[in-house]
Symmetry: C2
Subunit: 435 residues, 2 copies
């Protein structure tokens, strides 16, 4: 296999051993497709990859030596992962944090390599977003330091689409396909009620720092008057008076106004409009709730207009029933490419998606060093957003449009999707419990 | 056509004139299918039905003489209505209220019959829920009183499923198919994060007085441990301590707990948990927001558990992309049956759905006098709910299961649904503007 130029090609002798794949961070509609891609590709190299293991609940389960034997799973179940949302192996938000908790991190790494060695793991694939790629990077570095022969490849995943270097992230296309579909449907509903005094409908979508998900709903807009009428991105500080004028103009013209609100929307002072300080996630980010409710309050108070809110929450990252076929294909391909790179002797890379052409859409997988990925967040570029900040422009639309192409047509049982579950046959533990 | 026994068959001479169809109340994914059913059936009787008009924005538009000529619409557009959500003719929540506003109501009726006469409307079909059937009933009565030859048939519509006498309402099946699908997907997501400290995810669904929509999500539960774990129905007063124990048990067993919250959930005193008194709709009902947020607050305060909320709002009544094929067929059939009844000389009836058998599911349309429908709300029967009040039982499941069968496979354009819009060619006005 010819690898792209940017890869430092290091010839390594054929490495024989076992494979471990795990999932991390917030699930998506297609993170399982990436796992299926890894597993199906790995099955092609029985001389090098002897056992295929899954690590339960990401790095946390691996530290607890919770491995399952993927060879015990039915082939149809592995294929079915391609239409099954969420993380079939389980996921976690556990961080091996050398900066804040150096002692724990050192202990974790010792334990991790005990587990890898005990099970002769030589191929490790970690499917996740920024924090997970950071973890993968550290494992790669540790393997080098410890002179433990291990090939570590990260597989990108996040509906947030905020990983650098990759054109986009698997999971993103499906999230915006579902969200844009929902915006179209809600807009049709609100439009048909427009004989009433007018309604401003605020739809809150995910995206803590980056507005990619909110921006993607612009694909619902096929004509200038179509919804969404305003998209509030976390990248653009909320300008209340400009926003209220735009809502008022839209209500005057249409008697309805559809506003998409990125959950991480900030005011001019850079404060989140609706940070809920009660709960923090394991990475210390505040859990957000209610940016749309907050903006709705402003609209109803200042404009005396009727408001309605929708908060899609977890639904948008799990909506396999409305997944993008392109996204599923790409997610699967990223898993496969990761295995081929490892077989070719690579380690310390993340698979990325390289776009060659918008229309017809053409892409390949590529690779980027993990050290260039970790903890870098990519935001929506300012020049992809209209001057007034209220809508992504044509450059964004050209970028996003191909990512939602194609439908899955899930298998259905009695009117509802038929998802698969892994039987999770445990691999016998060889170590004492984690201290 | 043989009509069911319960109809008072009154032979009327063949009535020649024009037809008017209008939509009213909150839209659904299939209210347009009923309009298509009326229009397509009406086209079969060119000797009796000369012109087919649509009334814009329900009774309100008709009072303003806003009629459109349906014959100017393309046949493919009428067929396309069957997969287009929301009210293509526009809708309203205007009530002709003889009790509270007798003078206005009398004035409205005079104006309405002027419009009907000016356009020689002899067939009137009103597609809507409780309030709309009440309006249809009054129009029928007024026609009799005024000796104006008019055949009025109501076509049922409401995701709330709270109309009496009909087995269920068109719109309901699609709403619960979408909601149950969403519950399954969110549950898969939450389950895969279960290595974390545990999360209680609260999904708010529509249903002001009746819990049919919330109850319908039980279809997502295929095994005893599956989500939803708790369904909070407006019919069952909220019992905080019993609820919190159940959440705690579920979190202990699964590390996640999915709770579906009907927006109209009430406490033991009968007060809505989250009534937002700021806004009232035209019928004087308070607009609800935040029952799930309110319950989430209780869970996070009392159990110190992580909570996440989802509020599907308008999305659940507009989700044509996840509509039930059975629902679309029934909605279309109800429109067709309404026309045939009117052609047969009937007036003052609502079409209803009569169930003959659960499995395989068999149904026909039937008829009920409008006077028996108006303003009666049907709730989920107590004996269809578990003793503890937290889940609908097998009797409910048998009832609901057939209603979500079949998928639509919408036409798609660039990855998003392709809905139709009416060109709305206006019928020339013949009257001075409404006073």
């Amino acid at each position: 296999m010819a690898l792209p130029n940017q890869i430092h090609f290091v010839y390594m002798a054929d490495l024989v051993g076992n494979l471990l794949v795990a999932q991390s961070g917030g699930p998506t509609a297609v993170i399982n497709a990436s796992a299926a891609g890894v597993i199906q590709e790995a099955g092609k190299y029985p001389d090098l990859i002897e056992e295929i293991y899954g690590g339960l609940n990401g790095i946390l389960g691996i530290l607890n030596e919770e491995l399952i034997d993927i060879q015990e799973e039915k082939r149809v179940v592995i294929e079915g992962l391609k239409h099954t949302p969420a993380a079939a192996l389980g996921t976690c938000r556990y961080k091996v944090d050398f900066k804040k908790k150096p002692e724990q991190a050192a202990k974790d790494m010792d334990r991790l390599f005990q587990v890898l060695q005990a099970h002769n793991i030589r191929y490790f694939f970690y499917i996740g977003g920024n924090d997970s790629q950071d973890t993968a990077h550290k494992i790669h570095e540790q393997a080098v330091q410890r002179a433990y022969d291990l090939r570590v490849i990260g597989v990108p995943k996040t509906i947030d689409n905020d990983l650098p270097h990759t054109d986009h992230c698997p999971g993103y296309g499906s999230a915006i396909k579902y969200n844009a579909t929902t915006v179209m449907e809600i807009a049709a509903d609100a439009a048909s009620m427009a004989s009433d005094s007018g309604v401003c409908c605020l739809i809150e979508v995910m995206g803590r720092a980056a507005g990619w998900i909110a921006a993607g709903t612009v694909l619902a807009k096929r004509n200038p008057g179509d919804a969404p009428h305003i998209i509030l991105l976390p990248e653009i500080p909320f300008n209340e008076s400009a926003f209220l004028s735009r809502v008022q103009e839209t209500l005057a013209a249409n008697k309805f106004c559809i506003v998409v609100v990125g959950e991480g929307l900030r005011n001019a002072a850079g404060e989140e409009m609706a940070a809920d300080k009660r709960t923090m996630d394991a990475f210390g980010h505040p859990a957000l709730s209610g940016a749309a409710e907050r903006v709705a309050e402003i609209v109803s108070t200042k404009l005396k207009a009727k408001t309605r809110t929708v908060k899609l929450g977890y639904a948008q990252r799990a909506a396999a029933h409305c997944a993008s076929e392109t996204d599923v294909l790409e997610a699967t391909a990223c898993g496969g490419a990761a295995v081929r790179a490892a077989i070719d002797g690579q380690s310390g890379f993340m698979v990325k998606i390289v776009r060659h052409q918008n229309s017809p859409y053409r892409w390949t997988t590529g690779f980027q060093e993990l050290k260039e990925i970790a903890n870098v967040e990519r935001l929506v570029p300012r020049d992809w957003i209209s001057a007034d900040g209220f809508l992504p422009n044509e450059a964004f639309i050209e970028y996003a449009r191909p990512l939602i192409d194609g439908e899955l047509h899930l298998p259905i049982d009695s009117g509802l999707p038929k998802f698969v579950t892994l039987q999770k046959s445990p691999v016998e533990k060889k170590l004492p419990p984690r201290a």
